[in-house]
Symmetry: C2
Subunit: 100 residues, 2 copies
């Protein structure tokens, strides 16, 4: 949880996540979206990967980055603890058996 919140505690890294929401991108394409040196962006990507918020795959000379949703789910669960009256995630069920 610690490494997760640390990764999220930076506007640039949160923007990177928002970019990746719309599809995978190479490290260079991500860097081009920011007014910041490539090594700095590379460092941010490293932190996001450490937190497992993104995954990276080497494609030839490029490195493709993608969002990892499962960790985002984990954070949402943490936040849900503060909402005890929230509707729980429903188990999928057969609609026609409900009022049998």
């Amino acid at each position: 949880m610690n490494i997760l919140f640390r990764a999220l505690n930076d506007a640039t890294r949160r923007e990177i996540l928002e970019l990746l929401k719309d599809g995978d991108m190479t490290a260079g394409d991500i860097a081009d979206k920011f007014d910041m040196s490539k090594p700095s962006i590379s460092h941010h990507l490293d932190l996001l990967r450490q937190a497992d918020l993104v995954a990276s795959v080497k494609k030839g000379q490029f490195v493709l980055y993608s969002l990892n949703m499962t960790v985002i789910d984990e954070i949402m669960v943490w936040f849900m603890q503060f909402k005890p009256n929230a509707i729980q995630a429903e188990k999928p069920r057969n609609r026609f058996q409900v009022y049998k």
Copy 2:
């Protein structure tokens, strides 16, 4: 959003939020739960208040702290952007009008 994630980026502050989940507490009672000086806890409470994650009210010589849920909702909305296929929050509706 920045100040919010900054406030959440600390294990002590997250623990304070979890304590307050179960009910309001005075600054002193909160401090007693941690192996840390009172001024340090006071500082953490200050950051949580700056982020609007908690509210404080003076009660005589005590200061009562309480959770503020509305900001937690705000964060959840931010996270939801990454889950485009999630079930949207349902508008309350009359169950018996659905299949009219």
